[in-house]
């Protein structure tokens, strides 16, 4: 919401739930700190980069300490370095908060880097093509992207996607 500051964007779910502004702001500040945007609380969205806007959205989503986090291609519009960085931050958050994250993406490499478990759906009408766990350790860092086991997993899941290469 462009007319609200970063902090006020993050407090939205709590305001809607009836929290007092003071409580809402302290919880929101906590989450902004988690996504490393705490100093930007007074800025407006138009002053932020794409990646920072996305992190604000994530912070907003986390304020209610949800059990389930739904993310629909959140990093698709970002440049690669930012995307990589946010992927690692997401893993960090997940490891800290331990909620279930349902992440939709068209990028196999992203899916493999992020997920414990990947579900591949076909085109319309969506049918389950594959549902398997990812054989990678919990601790995933930048070096992993060029490691052999990562590439193997990517190959494994890529072959599950129909040959036509059509996105889901």
């Amino acid at each position: 919401m462009p007319w609200r500051t970063v902090l006020r964007n993050a407090t939205l779910p709590l305001e809607l739930a009836g929290w007092s502004m003071g409580d809402a702001e302290s919880r929101a500040t906590e989450e902004l700190r988690r996504v490393r945007l705490a100093e930007f609380g007074a800025r407006y969205p138009h002053q932020l980069s794409g990646g920072m806007k996305m992190r604000t959205s994530v912070a907003r989503a986390l304020t209610t300490r949800p059990n389930l986090l739904l993310l629909d291609e959140p990093f698709a519009a970002l440049d690669e370095p930012t995307r990589h960085s946010l992927q690692m931050q997401l893993r960090e958050i997940w490891l800290a908060l331990k909620m279930t994250v349902l992440f939709v993406t068209h990028s196999v490499t992203e899916a493999v880097f992020l997920a414990d478990r990947i579900i591949v759906l076909s085109q319309r009408p969506a049918q389950l093509l594959l549902d398997q766990n990812v054989a990678l350790p919990d601790d995933r860092n930048a070096e992993l992207r060029t490691a052999l086991k990562y590439v193997d997993e990517v190959r494994r899941f890529t072959s599950a996607v129909p040959v036509s290469g059509e996105p889901l």
Partner: protein, 256 residues
């Protein structure tokens, strides 16, 4: 800014004005154009100076009426638009009547206004309000209906009530449109006030009326000039408020 760039921005719009005023003055002085058709700019200026106290008082009266009318149409128009935006049925039932406010010829219902509101400011304010209300309704309604769907989804996701969605999402989102409507309405409010004054008396409208009766075209032009200025003042005020509220976040207010 160098002198050159200053000139480059000021001169082009000023030049046609100077040329046409000069041509008009010359034509009237040489009696090519009779002065009862177009007054010489110098006569209009003289008229402005001679009658400045009367014109100032009249201008204040018209401005206050126009402002009051604008406020009235803003409050009722916004309320109407909010109501219509929340119910499809209400919108289909009542919006056509809102259009009526746009098309009714104010000069012909002004005598009715006098019968209902009496002579003087009440009629003038009513006239200003009637003429200026439709742009506010139309723009506000458009703004409320154009809320970005992803944000609406966000609010639905957090089970926001209708009231919360209206006040925390739809209205802030519609502000640029609302100000756009207000901008148009403010010019119309001045027009409405002057028409109201033709029938109800007072302000610049009565100056124009009397000047017309006396065939004093220069006075008519002087009064018309002042009333255009009033419109500029009102629009400027709206722009100022718009800049304050939207300045921090809306692309229309940012210079870059």
């Amino acid at each position: 800014m160098t002198l050159k760039t200053r000139l480059a921005s000021w001169l082009p719009p000023l030049l046609p004005l100077i040329l046409s005023l000069g041509a008009a003055e010359f034509a009237v002085r040489m009696a090519w154009v009779p002065s009862y058709l177009i007054p010489a700019p110098s006569e209009v200026l003289q008229s402005l100076l001679d009658d400045r106290s009367e014109l100032t008082m009249a201008a204040w009266a018209t401005l206050s009426s126009a402002l009051a009318g604008l406020l009235l149409s803003f409050v009722t128009g916004t309320f109407f638009a909010i109501t219509l935006s929340s119910s499809d049925l209400a919108r289909r039932a009542f919006y056509p009547y809102a259009v009526f406010f746009q098309t009714v010829p104010i000069i012909s219902i002004a005598p009715l206004l006098v019968i209902w509101f009496g002579f003087g400011q009440p009629t003038v304010i009513a006239s200003a309000a009637i003429v200026s209300v439709f742009p506010i309704i139309a723009s506000t309604l458009l703004g409320l209906k154009s809320t970005e769907p992803s944000l609406l989804d966000l609010f639905t996701l957090y089970t926001a009530s209708r009231r919360q969605t209206l006040w925390m999402l739809k209205i802030p989102f519609a502000l640029p449109q609302i100000f756009s409507g207000l901008r148009i309405a403010s010019g119309l409010a001045v027009v409405g006030a002057i028409v109201g004054e033709f029938i109800g008396g007072g302000g610049l409208g009565s100056v124009v009326d009397a000047a017309r009766t006396q065939q004093r075209i220069d006075r008519v032009f002087a009064a018309v000039l002042i009333s255009s200025l009033l419109g500029v003042v009102l629009v400027g005020a709206v722009n100022f408020i718009s800049a304050l509220s939207l300045g921090s976040w809306h692309s229309s207010e940012r210079k870059s």
